[in-house]
Symmetry: C2
Subunit: 380 residues, 2 copies
C-alpha cells in the first residue's frame, strides 16, 4: 500500500437533518442523516470546496484509509496531495447519497414510525432529491459556492443537475463517462438487475431484514450483468479471452472459462456488502434522470440558466455511456452558449475507465483542476 | 395470416436411432430420437436438399403451419414457394437438435435407465455432436450431399462445422449473423443466463420435473438478458425510446417504461415453453464452439479441407456477433483459398435481423439460392 500521496487516515462524519424533506415523488422524509468525508482544508473565504458525487455503488469513502483497512477510498487515485484533485489546494467533500447503504439514511435504516428497517417503504429518490440534500449539507459546512462539482456515470448526472438546479452555487461542473439520460438499452439492463433481485425468494418484498436474510442470488446476478456493461468487449478479451481455468473442457456448468469465475466472484463479493433495496433505488434514479423531460426533450433549454464552466470527459470504449452520449451534453451546452471543454480519452477499459488511473485522463483532470486553482488564487 | 406463399400445413416426423452415439464429452447415448420437418420434394437424384440449422431457441418447425395454430414456423419468411429458399425447387429439412426441448431427445426426455427425465444427467452436447446426428438423419433420408446447409447465429456455427467435418456432403454453406467462436463478453452473458437458472430454487439441481415445477424466474431473467443482446441499441430506441406505459412516473418498481414491460413479457412467454436444462446445454454448446482450437487458433487451417462454397452474411447493427466476427470467417476462408462471397446488410434490428424479412437480406438469399438452383439443373 502506497500512502505517500494519500490523504492518510480519514474518519467519516455524520450530519443530522431534523427538518422534514419533501421528495420529488411527493413523499416526505421526517428527518434524515448523511454520512460524509472531507479531505484537505477549507480556505478562509470557503471558495476551495469540491464536491465528489458517487455512482451506483459508490459512497462517501472516496480517498484515504479507514482505521485497520488496507483498501483506500474508491477514488484515491484522483484525490490527495499532488493528485488531480489536489488536497493541498482543495477542500474535498464526498458523501453517501440519501437512500444509500453506507451510513446515510436509506432502506436499511430504521423507520422512525415502525422501529423496523424502512425496506420497501423508503421513498424512491431522484437525482434532483440528491442535489437538494447535497445543497443542505453544503449549507451546514458553510459552502455557498463549490469551486467544482465532479462525478462519473450516475455521479456525472448529479453534476448536470447541480448546474441546472443551483446555477449560482458552483463554478465548474466536471461530467465524466455520463449521459443526459438513459437509453432504452440502459433501462433494459437495469430492469434485468431489478428483476433478479425482486424475484429472489429471499427478497421477501423488500422486507428481508426482518427475516434475517438477503437476496444474495439476486444481488449476484444484478452485479454480474452490471459488470459486463462496465467493461468493454476489448477489455474482457484482453483480461480473459477464452482462457480456461483448468486448460480443458469439463462438459458441465461449473465455471470453466476465466471470465465466468471472475464474474461469479465479483457478484459474490458485491452481494455481501450492498443493500438490495438501495440497488433498486439507485437504478431507478438512473432510469428517471432526464433533465430535458420538462423542456420538450430540448437539453439546451434545460441548461439555459447554467452559469458554471463545463468539462465533459468520455472514454472511447465505454459502451454503457458512449462518447456519443457525452457529445449530446456538449452539443446542448454549445447550443445554449455555455462555456464547455470536452475530451474523448482513448482507453481500453470501457465504462470502468472513469474509476481508473488512466494516465491521459489523470493528466487532463490535473490540468483542469490546476486552472480552477489558478482562478481561485487570482480571484478578486 | 397470409398463407399464399406458404408451404401450408406441415407435420413433424420422428426418426429413431437405435444405435448408440458416442458424444464429444466421451459419454454415450444408448439411443435417441430426432424430430424434423420437410418442405418441398426431394428430386430423383436427391441433389436438391437444403438443411436448416436452428439457433439457441429454435426448433424443427421452420415453415408452414401446424394444425390449429395461427403462428407459422420461425423462418416462414424465408422458406416457401417463391421465397428465398424456394420449396418449388428445394427439399428443405429442419430438425430439432439433440438436447432440445421440442421433441428430439433431450433433458426433458425419459432416461431409459431410470424412467425419469434425464434432467442434469443428459450429456453436454456440442456443435460437432449435432453435425454428427444431422448426418445420421441425412443418411436415413438418403441424402448424401446437401445442396446447401444454412443457419443463423448458433445455426451458422453448425454450418461451419458441417463444412469442416463432412467436406464432401455439402455444396454450399450459408453462415448468417454468426462468429467463429464466442468472445469473453458473449460467454459472460451466457453465464449470467445460466446462473439465473441454476440459482433459482425451483431448478432443484436440474431435477425440477420430479417436483412438478420449473425455474420460471430464472428462465425469465435468462431470456431478458438474452433479448437485450439480440436487439441493437438503435432498434430499442426506435421501438421503445424512453416511452412510459402510463405517461408519467409512479416512483416504484413496477414496469414503468415500455421496454420494461416488453422484456418481462418476452421472458414470461419464453419461460412457459422452453426447458431450463436445454437452455443450459445450448449456451454451453455456444461457449465451447471453437473450430480453430485444435489448430492453434488458426481458423484458416481448421478450414483447410473445406470443399463447398461459402456465403457469409452479417448485419450492421448486430453487436452480439458483429460484422467484424463474420469477417474473421471470411478472412480465414480467403487465406485458405476457398470460394467465399460475403455481404454486410444495413439493418437497424441488430442480431435479430437474421430472423426477419429485411428486404435486401431476402433479396440476397433469393439470388444466392437461385444460383444454387441453376447449378443443380445444369449439373451433368
Amino acid at each position: 500500500m502506497n500512502r505517500e500521496h494519500s490523504v492518510g487516515l480519514v474518519h467519516p462524519r455524520r450530519q443530522n437533518f431534523e427538518e422534514s424533506l419533501t421528495l420529488e415523488c411527493g413523499r416526505i422524509l421526517p428527518r434524515f442523516e448523511l454520512v460524509y468525508e472531507t479531505y484537505g482544508t477549507l480556505n478562509e473565504d470557503r471558495s476551495n470546496a469540491v464536491l465528489v458525487c458517487h455512482a451506483l455503488s459508490g459512497h462517501h469513502h472516496a480517498a484515504g484509509f479507514h482505521e485497520g483497512e488496507e483498501k483506500p477510498g474508491w477514488w484515491d487515485v484522483c484525490i490527495g496531495p499532488g493528485k488531480p484533485i489536489d488536497t493541498r489546494h482543495f477542500f474535498v467533500v464526498a458523501l453517501n447519497n440519501l437512500g444509500g447503504c453506507h451510513g446515510s439514511t436509506g432502506p436499511s435504516s430504521p423507520n422512525p414510525e415502525t422501529g423496523l428497517c424502512y425496506g420497501p417503504d423508503f421513498p424512491v429518490v431522484t437525482v434532483r432529491d440528491w442535489i437538494k440534500t447535497q445543497a443542505l449539507l453544503a449549507d451546514t459546512l458553510g459552502i455557498t459556492c463549490w469551486a467544482a462539482v465532479i462525478g462519473g456515470s450516475l455521479g456525472g448526472m448529479q453534476v448536470l443537475q447541480w448546474a441546472i438546479d443551483f446555477p449560482n452555487r458552483l463554478k465548474h461542473a466536471i461530467v465524466i463517462a455520463s449521459a443526459p439520460k438513459l437509453s432504452a438499452q440502459n433501462i433494459a439492463f437495469n430492469e434485468v438487475a431489478r428483476q433478479a433481485i425482486i424475484s429472489d425468494p429471499d427478497f421477501h418484498d423488500g422486507r428481508f431484514y426482518e427475516y434475517e436474510t438477503y437476496p444474495r442470488r439476486g444481488l449476484i446476478l444484478a452485479r454480474m450483468v452490471g459488470h459486463i456493461t462496465y467493461l468493454s468487449d476489448d477489455a474482457m478479451r484482453i483480461k480473459f479471452g477464452r482462457d480456461l481455468r483448468s486448460g480443458k473442457f469439463h462438459f458441465g456448468f461449473d465455471a470453466e472459462f476465466q471470465v465466468e469465475s471472475y464474474l461469479r466472484h465479483q457478484g459474490e463479493t458485491f452481494s455481501r456488502y450492498f443493500d438490495a433495496n438501495t440497488y433498486l433505488l439507485m437504478t431507478r434514479a438512473l432510469d428517471y434522470f432526464d433533465p430535458a423531460r420538462e423542456t420538450d426533450d430540448r437539453l439546451d433549454l434545460a441548461l439555459a440558466n447554467v452559469q458554471c464552466s463545463f468539462f465533459v470527459v468520455a472514454f472511447t470504449t465505454d459502451w454503457r455511456f458512449s462518447p456519443e452520449r457525452s457529445q449530446e451534453i456538449v452539443d446542448a451546452l454549445m447550443a445554449s452558449g455555455k462555456d464547455v471543454s470536452s475530451v474523448i480519452v482513448d482507453a481500453p477499459q470501457g465504462h470502468d475507465s472513469f474509476l481508473l488511473a488512466v494516465p491521459r485522463y489523470m493528466d487532463l483532470l490535473q490540468t483542469y483542476f490546476g486552472r480552477i486553482y489558478e482562478e481561485l488564487i487570482h480571484a478578486p
